[in-house]
């Protein structure tokens, strides 16, 4: 493994090791952590372990800066939740907070130092219109203006076109399920909603198993994995936190099968364990890995791609391998997202509009 990747993983696994890093090692860790969106996390770890004052001034400066930005992001997220709460007074409808907002609202350890630019929520499909209308009445506006984009989101995506509040410049994504309806994986949103736990009179968060399954399916079944190390750190933290109760692992396995997400979970457990030392019991890992692809060569290709793409290459050290892995994963992400004909049509429209010079 690359030296810089190894160093970053070391301090993510064991923050106390920050204390012994040389200036040269810090140069690599700081660059890579920033490229992965993990600088705030490294800073939060330094603070939690009481290391900030012992670090060299140049390193401390960068971490203090990242700490302030993460604190502000958190305050902004809380304020945005407050504004959504205010815009949706009245009917007794459960709004589930997703990802960063959920981690902050539920007070989970992975919220530490995490910077979120958007707020993501989920409601049942028949409440979509109500929520969109309520937010627009309170001043949120459409971001995507073209008819094709609007229609594309509404027909084929698991979320509505994003809304932005012009005064606060904050974006909200409203989901009705966690993966595009055309995706290979089709977890039933009703099941996710049913188990979501209310945290106040308006907002809910997913059950423990579902928080992990959502993050895992986002990383391994929807996105392109590029720079996805931050998501894997979230997953590792969730495993540490929820794994404290002994019945979590069997419940997790049963739930992943119920929702049809056994394979994304197998990837999540494998890489969180291998790269970030997640405390996954041996039997849980073995059981989950039965869902990995067959035959094994497919597994090896995926393994090579994931390891190369999860952590972006250094600016001054661009090996061709990472770019190839990134491309393969990009193709895979679309392959999983939609059937071939639909993909061809979608990419065709995008290419056509690019040649016409309008924004795709």
């Amino acid at each position: 493994m690359r030296e810089d990747a190894r160093l970053l993983l070391t301090v993510l696994k064991n923050p106390a090791r920050q204390a012994g890093l040389s200036a040269q090692a810090w140069s690599q860790v700081l660059y890579l952590a920033r490229a992965c969106g993990l600088l705030g996390r490294v800073a939060a770890d330094a603070e939690r372990y009481g290391l900030l004052d012992s670090l060299a001034a140049g390193v401390r400066d960068q971490l203090i800066g990242a700490r302030r930005v993460a604190e502000m992001s958190r305050a902004r997220l809380l304020w945005e939740m407050d504004r959504v709460r205010r815009a949706t007074l009245g009917p007794d409808i459960k709004i589930v907070l997703l990802k960063g907002a959920a981690y902050v609202a539920a007070g989970l350890p992975c919220a530490a130092g995490r910077v979120s630019s958007d707020i993501d929520v989920l409601v049942s499909r028949d409440r979509l219109q109500w929520l969109e209308a309520a937010l627009m009445a309170a001043g949120w506006q459409q971001v995507k203006s073209s008819d094709y984009d609007q229609q594309y989101y509404r027909d084929w995506m698991h979320e509505l076109p994003p809304l932005r509040h012009p005064e606060r410049n904050a974006v909200i994504d409203i989901h009705h399920t966690i993966l595009p309806p055309t995706s290979r994986y089709k977890p039933d949103p009703a099941k996710l909603l049913a188990n979501a736990r209310m945290i106040d009179e308006r907002f809910a968060v997913f059950a423990d198993t579902d928080l992990l399954l959502h993050s895992a399916s986002h990383l391994f079944a929807d996105g392109e994995l590029r720079g996805g190390l931050r998501d894997l750190v979230d997953q590792r933290d969730l495993m540490v936190e929820f794994g404290k109760s002994a019945d979590f692992w069997p419940r997790l396995k049963a739930r992943s099968e119920e929702l049809g997400l056994a394979r994304p979970l197998a990837y999540s457990l494998t890489y969180a364990h291998d790269l970030l030392a997640a405390p996954v019991p041996a039997e849980a890992l073995t059981a989950a890995r039965r869902a990995l692809p067959w035959p094994p060569p497919l597994r090896w290709v995926m393994d090579w791609c994931v390891r190369a793409a999860l952590i972006p290459p250094h600016l001054f050290d661009r090996a061709a391998g990472a770019a190839v892995a990134g491309e393969l994963l990009y193709i895979r992400s679309h392959w999983l997202r939609m059937p071939p004909l639909m993909l061809a049509r979608h990419l065709g429209v995008k290419a056509w509009r690019r040649t016409l010079g309008s924004r795709p």
Binding site: A23, Q24, W26, S27, L30, Y31, R34, A35, A56, A57, G58, V59, D61, Q62, I64, G65, A66, R68, V69, E71, M72, A75, G227, P312, H314, L315, F316
Partner: protein
């Protein structure tokens, strides 16, 4: 990099290093690591950055930047280059091959603007005399760089013509002495005040017209670790047709004005608010309308006499 060499020099060694492992040098509180294969840019860079202190192995890098060809063939064939910091969502644009210095400076500016949230950052020029700093915020093109350069050639110590870096805890400003970017009409005004070798070659037809980079004065580089608190905040406005004027701003207006010049205010939240309030409290703020550089320098000297 030889271990005995402490400053950037116009040596074959540094010329080579820029293409291979890159050069790591200190600018105020930051360590920049830059690299580029372009020959002309490497000449320009060493000329402009000659005398900047190289970073020691005990100092971590703050940011990395390379200026690279937009496509492999573009290094030789109708050269086109752009800055690359390695992150997604950067605003860098492709530029013709002989504008490498502009790509480098814009790249470094973007990195400072987006990754120094340890400081409250002002889009401003900054000079110091007798331990008192003067902050001169202002949009591009109203004479901020010219006045900053003019003052730093008349007994003031040059801090920056672009980024005022305020430590929100100590309220001291940190120098960030980079090459001063002179544009269009301001070039002849300063060319007659400095030795010709301190001015880089003109870069024509840039998105901002003609640009020449002025090397920061020697004492600015030697004292780049010496911070200073601000006493004055001036809003310079060069207008050859107006009556010259000094207008003091009441505190509430001064606060709103200086808040508008703070680049990363929204990312710092309460920290920024408290620092802005304290800064407004300790400084006097003036609007400065002037007809010539010499006149402006005299006005600033007078104001400095009564600075708190």
């Amino acid at each position: 990099m030889g271990r005995d060499v402490r400053d950037i020099t116009r040596s074959p060694e540094h010329f080579r290093a820029l293409r291979r492992e890159g050069l790591r040098f200190r600018v105020g509180p930051f360590v920049a690591h830059v690299r580029t294969p372009f020959t002309r840019l490497r000449h320009d860079f060493l000329e402009t950055y000659e005398g900047f202190p190289l970073a020691s192995e005990a100092e971590a890098t703050t940011f990395h930047l390379q200026v690279r060809a937009t496509a492999p063939l573009r290094r030789w064939l109708r050269p086109k280059l752009m800055a690359d910091a390695g992150f997604a969502h950067t605003p860098f644009v492709p530029l013709p091959g002989d504008l490498g210095m502009l790509a480098m400076e814009m790249g470094l500016n973007w990195l400072v603007a987006t990754s120094s949230d340890r400081f409250l950052m002002f889009h401003a020029g900054l000079v110091e005399r007798g331990g008192k700093a003067i902050l001169m915020p202002g949009a591009s093109g109203i004479g901020k760089s010219t006045l900053t350069a003019g003052l730093s050639l008349s007994g003031w110590r040059f801090f920056t013509d672009e980024f005022g870096l305020l430590d929100p805890d100590t309220l001291a400003f940190h120098p960030h002495p980079r090459p001063i970017s002179l544009k269009n009409e301001s070039i002849p005004v300063l060319a007659e005040r400095v030795m010709p070798e301190r001015l880089g070659r003109p870069l024509h037809e840039t998105p901002k017209g003609t640009i020449r980079y002025l090397k920061p004065p020697r004492d600015a580089l030697e004292r780049m670790a010496d911070t200073a608190p601000a006493s004055l905040i001036l809003y310079p406005n060069y207008n050859p047709n107006a009556k010259s004027q000094v207008i003091e701003l009441p505190k509430h207006e001064a606060f709103a004005m200086v808040r508008g010049a703070a680049v990363n205010c929204d990312r710092l939240g309460e920290t920024a608010f408290r620092a802005l309030a304290a800064l407004t409290d300790r400084c006097r703020s003036f609007r400065l309308i002037y007809r010539s550089l010499d006149q402006a320098i005299r006005m600033v000297s007078d104001l400095m006499e009564h600075a708190p």
